[in-house]
């Protein structure tokens, strides 16, 4: 037992204890407490989706059969032709739809950037964000990890989800274009299972990332979990 100037660290000073007791009973919460908590939950969810897909990916809604696509969040989106040709990285990352068919994220870009808040170097792999307004036109995938957590290789057993911290070492996210009326949005948080293996990652003039996924990701929007499997080798 260590000693302080006024006693030991195991003892409770009566004057301080009394003041803390009054402090602890001095506040009354808002009458609409539950409403405010639910609002915070919605804000947090929007932030997670925005983190994964950028501002234009908010409130993703299942797309029709349009062939137009948008990159970015302009009010009047430009229309481009979709291309499925690989542009460097080789990806076999694919999710399985409810009907048993699969969708493969073939066009993946790997980038590195420094997180301005934590100064961590982040390595990120994303598929193109193809949206019109708030409508998701094609499935979207994002993987992001702190480089210092994965540069020597690391296997994550899902879920990777610490409710008590904002500094997750890794997040894997994808959104589908089915499951209406809203697109399904899935992440490596609860209640996901499986593994995400980072075989290699580096940030240099040409960022590189080797990834192997065998997982069933949980839905962020109270829909079904979905399997995501395959590998990514970039460049």
């Amino acid at each position: 037992m260590s000693t302080t100037e006024g006693g030991t660290t195991e003892e409770r000073d009566p004057e301080i204890a009394g003041a803390y007791d009054r402090l602890g009973r001095s506040l009354d919460g808002p009458v609409d407490m539950l409403v405010r908590v639910e609002h915070r939950m919605r804000v947090r969810r929007r932030q997670r989706v925005a983190l994964a897909g950028g501002a234009s990916a908010l409130a993703l809604v299942v797309a029709g059969t349009t062939a137009a696509l948008t990159l970015g969040g302009d009010d009047q989106p430009s229309t481009l032709h979709v291309t499925d040709e690989p542009t460097g990285p080789v990806s076999t990352l694919a999710f399985t739809r409810a009907d048993g068919s699969t969708y493969t994220f073939r066009d993946i870009e790997v980038t590195c950037k420094k997180d301005p808040d934590s100064a961590r170097q982040l390595v990120t792999a994303t598929s193109p964000r193809k949206v019109r307004g708030e409508t998701l036109l094609e499935p979207f995938l994002m993987f992001q990890a702190s480089l210092d957590e994965v540069e020597d290789g690391r296997t994550f057993t899902l879920p990777v989800d610490d409710v008590a911290t904002s500094k997750l070492p890794m997040i894997l996210f994808f959104a589908t274009d089915e499951g209406g009326p809203r697109a399904n949005e899935l992440s490596s948080a609860q209640p996901s299972t499986g593994t995400v293996q980072v075989l290699h990652a580096s940030c240099g003039p040409t960022p590189s990332l080797d990834l192997k996924v065998d997982a069933k990701l949980g839905s962020e929007v109270e829909q079904s979990s979905m399997r995501l499997t395959g590998e990514l080798h970039a460049p």
């Binding site: 006024g6 660290t9 803390y20 007791d21 009054r22 001095s26 911290t165």
Partner: protein, 182 residues
């Protein structure tokens, strides 16, 4: 949300388990948060964030002791709160600037002033000691640090509080009594 009660908590016509948990735990969580932050508005932010994180996982995660887990979440959020809340809360507070918590009891002004001079980790250790009545080992577990670190935090924090009480206390403010000298 469907209806409001006169007891300070809104209720649904069919409250969920999480609603029941949140309503029951908010008073004590708010008390701990007030001791952790020394600020009513930051205390509510901390409670709201803690309950939001619990609510997101409610039904999807298994909480053996949800009340204790909520306090662990709150404690660790508070340790990280300076960097995290500064980044997130400006967004979250938009349109939410009006005070949402009410001061209904007396507070010792010297304690509030003293808490503002402590580090978040010192405030946390002292709050767990005096509000949660945890011993050094329990505080270390809750904070995720060594017992030696806790002893150091408690020792320096207690000395600072006593110094402040001797210099500035005792004064009581708030509740129905306004500000006066005891």
């Amino acid at each position: 949300m469907d209806t409001m009660t006169g007891t300070g908590a809104p209720t649904r016509q069919h409250p969920t388990d999480f609603d029941t948990f949140a309503v029951a735990q908010t008073p004590s969580l708010l008390g701990l948060a007030h001791a952790l932050t020394g600020n009513p508005h930051d205390a509510w932010d901390l409670v709201q964030e803690t309950l939001a994180r619990m609510g997101e996982r409610w039904g999807r995660s298994r909480f053996d002791e949800p009340a204790a887990y909520a306090r662990t979440v709150m404690t660790r959020l508070n340790i990280d709160r300076i960097r995290r809340l500064r980044r997130e809360l400006p967004l979250l507070r938009q349109g939410d600037a009006a005070p949402v918590v009410e001061l209904v009891g007396a507070v010792d002004t010297w304690l509030v002033e003293a808490l503002a001079t402590l580090s978040p980790r010192q405030r946390t250790a002292l709050a767990l000691r005096y509000v949660e009545d945890l011993d050094v080992r329990g505080i270390a577990t809750r904070m995720g640090c060594s017992e030696g670190t806790v002893k150091s935090l408690l020792s320096r924090g207690t000395a600072r509080l006593k110094e402040h009480a001797g210099t500035h206390g005792p004064r009581v403010r708030g509740g129905e009594h306004g500000e006066d000298e005891r």
